[in-house]
Each structure stands twice: as structure tokens, then as C-alpha cells.
Amino acid sequence: MADLHGKYLVGVYDDDEVILHAISKIRKAGVKISEVYSPFAIHGMDEALGHSRTRIGIAAFMFGVTGCICALCLTIWTMGIDWPMIVGGKDPISIPNYIPVTFELTVLFTAFGMVGTFLVTNNLGPGVNPNMFDPRSTDNKFVMAIELGKNKLTEEQISQVLKDSGAEEVNIKQF
């Protein structure tokens, strides 16, 4: 048998509802789906594909905590320790006055940290060349990629399953 690594069967669908239901049928038929590409977010896609819930929120929370601690350290150290000064008759360390800056830095760290994590985990960045199975998947088509090397069924069998599930076209793509 020829090397099937990097050889994909690409099912092109016309409708988001059709592909969403096709996924469960195809998975039931014992076919392993590599990934699905769509022009917009489809709700229920993760569950259908069996993807686990993203943990990016945990990262975001950690960045937020970091930002909060950094901001408190900055304000307390500069105002109260490095060069203590009484402003407006208040204690040099007056935490309520530091809430705005602490809040802003918490938000700043969370947003940038989270977006940075997002770019890294999705391998997004300037100059990255995406593997596009079908350029229409950013326009109006919904594309399912199935790697032949990772499936037991033959090309013809998978192709038939894809067509039965409502795929408009089935193409072959080699990466």
C-alpha cells in the first residue's frame, strides 16, 4: 500500500447544518475526522467532533492574577516603600486609591496574555502559511478533512460515506 501519510480526503459541504449532522454520521461509521473548516463559528461543532473544552480561560485567569499582583507591587512599592509620600493627608499606602490602576493592569495582562496564548496555540502569526484544504472554506463552503493514513477504511469507502452524509464534492489533497 502506498504511503497515505499526508493524503487527505476533503469533503466539501454547502450548509453548516448539513455538515454538523454529517459529522456524527461519519464518526458513527468509524471514520476519524482530522478537522473541519468553516467560514464562521458553528455552535455545537466541538461536541460533534468530540473536542475537549478549551483551557484558554485558565491561562487568561493566570495572566489576570499576574497583572493584579504586578500592579499592586508597583503601586505599593513606589508610593509606600521606595519614596513614601503623604498625598492629601492619606497614608502613603492607600490601597483604595490603587484600585483603578490595578484594575486596568489586570485587564491589560489578561487580554494580551490570552490573545498571545490564542495565537500561539493556534499557530497564528505573520508569515504563517495555512494549510488550506479548500480556499472556499473562508467564503461559503464547509470543509471536512479526513487523513487516509489514520483510517482503516479505504479511500472509496470513506468517499462513499462522505457523499452519503451530504457532501457536495469529495476531493483529494496531499500535503
Binding site: 478537522e35 467560514p39 455552535h43 455545537g44 466541538d46 484558554i56 486596568e104 490570552m114 490564542f118
Partner: protein
């Protein structure tokens, strides 16, 4: 699964398919600049050039070229700053708060509104630099070690909070906007006919491929960014209002300022969005995407926030009397009947009376009226800041210091600079980037297409009826 009530009017009209959305929105990005765009852009650049010359002279000569005097030390600079920051609140409000409230009509306007936010905040920041007088020392506002300046910055001061609030707001808004742009940039990349635009949009799209995993994370971070931006947007104008409220000037020293400023900011921001979108939808023929429903919804927000602003004006007046503080009472009586009465009554008419016209359904669904009232609202909101700043300052504690403020051509010229800057940026955006978020609009088309019979909403899309049994599977 989305199921939309049959009584709800469609968000996107004209029975658009996914391909139609791509085609309609990409058209102006891919085509040559139109004649109208070229004319508008030339005018903006001329205005910007004039403003830049005035700004150059302001910096060259110093702030003495403004009409400020020893009594009125803040006038047009801070008025313009607060006005622009206020306008810059609508975009994030639309994309963040309306996302949290699951208001799907936001999808047609969020992109342009966020762009407007970013440009408006840049204009606001330019006034901060201007009013410093010596902009090359602007870094003194940052918490740098003593060797760079004199001491640490004072973290008890709202002016320092403002530095943090505005810079955080600007950068987070920019990130939010850019993340939303990536899928659309990928769409343009994949449609590009020539190498140059393919390279440019490809670089900007950062290798987006629209995989299910990416989309899941994208949706997740959009939600968190919205959750972060919502308190952020409220904090920014709260802190701006504290620049005034924590001082001891009668007319400024009031606890109502934060909510009152935030409401005013949303009010003026929505009015600016209306002005820009009403022009954009006609020029780019996007009437199916920005429908009368969108305009009406925004007008409702304008009426609500305008009414909050109106109540705040009256509350301020009432408290000035009820507090028994004679200086406070005088400040308010002076506003309404003193030498600046015309500014006060302009503000009252524009901000309190004009948005109430939107109670009439025919007015709030009329494009002409909406445009007209939105302009009026922004004039009124400019006067609000002018009234708060100048009328509170011009009658000092000592009657011997009482003075009036009159702007010079440099006050006006620097304001004109911000218009040139804003419209130049907005026109560049509207030509080279998609003005409507295609990916999000595509995701709401199904639940909102007017061709959909109510029963199969969420399953079929117009004439392309999918296998009807799919509906059962999903439920």
C-alpha cells in the same frame, strides 16, 4: 441550535446567502477606490494638513497661542479630549456589552463601530499630548524610575489613572478589533486575485484557516474579551469623570459624575456610529445589512442614554440647591443664566430634548431624522463638556479673577486637526478593510433570513432546504 421567533423581523434582508455576504462586503475592498471615496479622502487629508499646521504652531510657540488665561486653564483641549473619549465608547459597548446580552444585531455594526472607537481614542490621546504643552516630556506620565523624571508618578491621582485607563482601553480595543478582523482578512486573502494583495492580507490574516478548534477558541476568547471590555469601558469614562469630580471646583465636585459621564459617552458614541453608518450603508450599498431595524435599535439606545443624561442634568441642579452649598448653587445658576447661558441651553436642547423625538416610531425609523438628530446630539455633547469645564472655571473664587474664554484660531485649528485625523483613518479603514464582520454576519443569517418560514427556522436556508430530519437529530 438557533430558533428565532417568527415575529422577530430579519436582521439581514434581501435573502442573502453566505456567498452573497462575502461578495457584498469584499466588493469595496477589492475594487478600485470610487470617486466619492477619493473626493472624501482628499478633503480629509486637506483638513488634516491644515490641522497639522495649526498643531505644529501650537507646539512650536507653546500653549500661549490658545485662548487660555490664568482663570480658565482648561478649555477646548480637555473639552475635545472628553468629547472624543466619549465617542470612543460606542464601539466597545456595541461589541462587548451587546455580545454579553446576545444582541445579534450588533454583528452588522460592530466592526465599523470598533474602528471608530480606536480612531476616536487616538484623537482623544492627541489632545492629552497637546495640552501637556511639551509633548516630548509625555513619558513623565509613566511610572519610570526617578532618574528619568523627578519622582514616581502619583498613583493617588486620577490623572495617572487616566493614563492607565486610556492606554489599556486603546490597546485592548485594538486587540479585540484585530482578532475579529482575522477571519475576514483570511476570506480576502483566499479571494485575492493578485500577489500583492494576497501577500498583504495573508500576512495580516496570520495564517487563519478556520478550523473548528480555532473557531472554538476564538469564540471563547471573544466572550472573555467582551467580559473584560465591559467593565473596562465603564471604568474609562468613570476615571475621566474623576479628573473633575475629585477636584474641589464647584460644578465639578459631584459624585454623580461617573454614571452621568458614562451615559453621556454611550449617547454621543452611538450618535457618531449612526452618522458614520448611515453614510457607509448608502455609499457601499449595504442597506440589506444595516437595516432600519439596526438604526431603530441604536436610536433606542440613544433615547435611553439621552434620558439618563437629562436626568443627571436635573439631579445636578437639584442637588446644587438641596445641598445648601451656596458656591455650588451659584455655579449652577451661573451656568444657566450667566454669560455662558447660550452654551448651557444649547446643551440642554440638543441633549435632553432632541433624543426624546425618537419616541415617535416614524422619526426613529427615518434615516434623515436619525442623521440630523445624531449630529445635534454630538454638538450637544461637545457643549456639555464645554459647559462643565469652562463655566465652572471662569468664575473663580475671587471675583477679581473672573474671566471669559474665547478660542483662538489655534484652539479651533487643533480641533480641526482631530477631525482630519479621524476621517482620514476612517476612510482608509473603510476602503482597505471589510466594514462589516462577514464571519459574524454569516453566523446570524440563518436565524434571521427573511425567506425562512418560522417553522423551519434554524434548519433550512431559503430555497436550499436541507434534509428535514436533521432538525429532529439536533433537538
Amino acid at each position: 441550535m438557533h430558533v428565532t421567533s417568527s415575529v422577530r423581523p430579519p436582521l439581514i434582508t434581501g435573502g442573502k446567502t453566505y456567498a452573497d455576504v462575502t461578495e457584498d462586503i469584499c466588493r469595496q475592498v477589492e475594487g478600485k477606490p470610487t470617486k466619492e471615496w477619493k473626493i472624501a479622502f482628499t478633503i480629509s487629508v486637506i483638513v488634516l494638513a491644515y490641522g497639522t499646521a495649526c498643531l505644529f504652531w501650537t507646539w512650536w510657540e507653546g500653549l500661549g497661542v490658545w485662548g487660555l488665561n490664568k482663570t480658565v486653564g482648561w478649555a477646548w483641549d480637555i473639552t475635545n479630549f472628553v468629547w472624543w473619549v466619549g465617542i470612543g465608547h460606542a464601539g466597545t459597548l456595541i461589541s462587548a456589552i451587546l455580545l454579553l446580552f446576545r444582541q445579534k444585531w450588533r454583528t452588522s455594526i460592530n466592526r465599523a463601530a470598533e474602528a471608530m472607537t480606536i480612531f476616536a481614542v487616538l484623537c482623544a490621546a492627541s489632545f492629552i499630548l497637546m495640552h501637556m504643552g511639551r509633548p516630548w516630556l509625555a513619558y513623565w506620565a509613566l511610572p519610570l524610575p526617578n532618574a528619568f523624571g523627578s519622582l514616581w508618578v502619583n498613583f493617588n491621582s486620577p490623572l495617572v489613572w487616566d493614563v492607565f485607563a486610556i492606554s489599556t482601553y486603546f490597546s485592548v480595543s485594538l486587540v479585540f478589533w484585530y482578532i475579529g478582523l482575522i477571519p475576514d482578512l483570511a476570506t480576502i486573502r483566499d479571494r485575492a486575485q493578485n500577489k500583492v494583495s494576497r501577500y498583504i492580507y495573508g500576512t495580516l490574516a496570520m495564517g487563519w484557516n478556520g478550523s473548528a478548534k480555532t473557531w472554538a477558541r476564538y469564540e471563547y476568547i471573544s466572550l472573555i474579551l467582551a467580559g473584560l471590555s465591559t467593565p473596562l469601558v465603564l471604568s474609562v469614562h468613570t476615571i475621566v469623570s474623576m479628573d473633575f469630580a475629585t477636584s474641589v471646583i464647584p460644578g465639578w465636585h459631584t459624585t454623580i459624575f461617573p454614571p452621568y459621564f458614562v451615559a453621556g459617552a454611550i449617547f454621543s458614541g452611538f450618535a457618531m456610529v449612526q452618522n458614520l453608518m448611515l453614510i457607509t450603508r448608502v455609499v457601499y450599498r449595504l442597506e440589506d445589512y444595516i437595516t432600519l431595524e439596526h438604526i431603530e435599535s441604536m436610536n433606542k439606545v440613544i433615547t435611553l442614554t439621552g434620558s439618563i443624561v437629562g436626568v443627571a442634568y436635573l439631579t445636578e441642579f437639584f442637588i446644587a440647591w438641596y445641598s445648601g452649598v451656596e458656591y455650588e448653587s451659584y455655579a449652577f445658576i451661573n451656568r444657566a443664566t450667566g454669560p455662558y447661558w447660550w452654551a448651557y441651553w444649547t446643551m440642554m436642547t440638543c441633549n435632553v430634548i432632541s433624543p426624546q423625538l425618537f419616541w415617535s416610531r416614524s422619526i426613529r425609523r427615518s434615516v434623515t431624522w436619525t442623521f440630523f438628530i445624531s449630529v445635534i446630539v454630538n454638538i450637544g455633547m461637545w457643549f456639555e463638556r464645554f459647559v462643565i469645564i469652562v463655566t465652572s472655571l471662569h468664575r473663580d473664587y475671587l471675583p477679581s479673577s473672573w474671566a471669559m474664554f474665547s478660542p483662538t484660531m489655534y484652539d479651533i485649528g487643533d480641533y480641526i486637526f482631530s477631525f482630519g485625523f479621524f476621517f482620514t483613518l476612517f476612510l482608509l479603514f473603510s476602503k482597505y478593510l471589510p466594514v462589516i464582520n462577514m464571519a459574524e454576519v454569516k453566523s446570524v443569517i440563518r436565524s434571521s433570513s427573511e425567506k425562512l418560514p418560522a417553522k423551519v427556522a434554524g434548519v433550512a436556508k431559503g430555497e436550499r432546504v436541507a434534509n428535514p430530519t436533521f432538525n429532529k437529530d439536533a433537538e
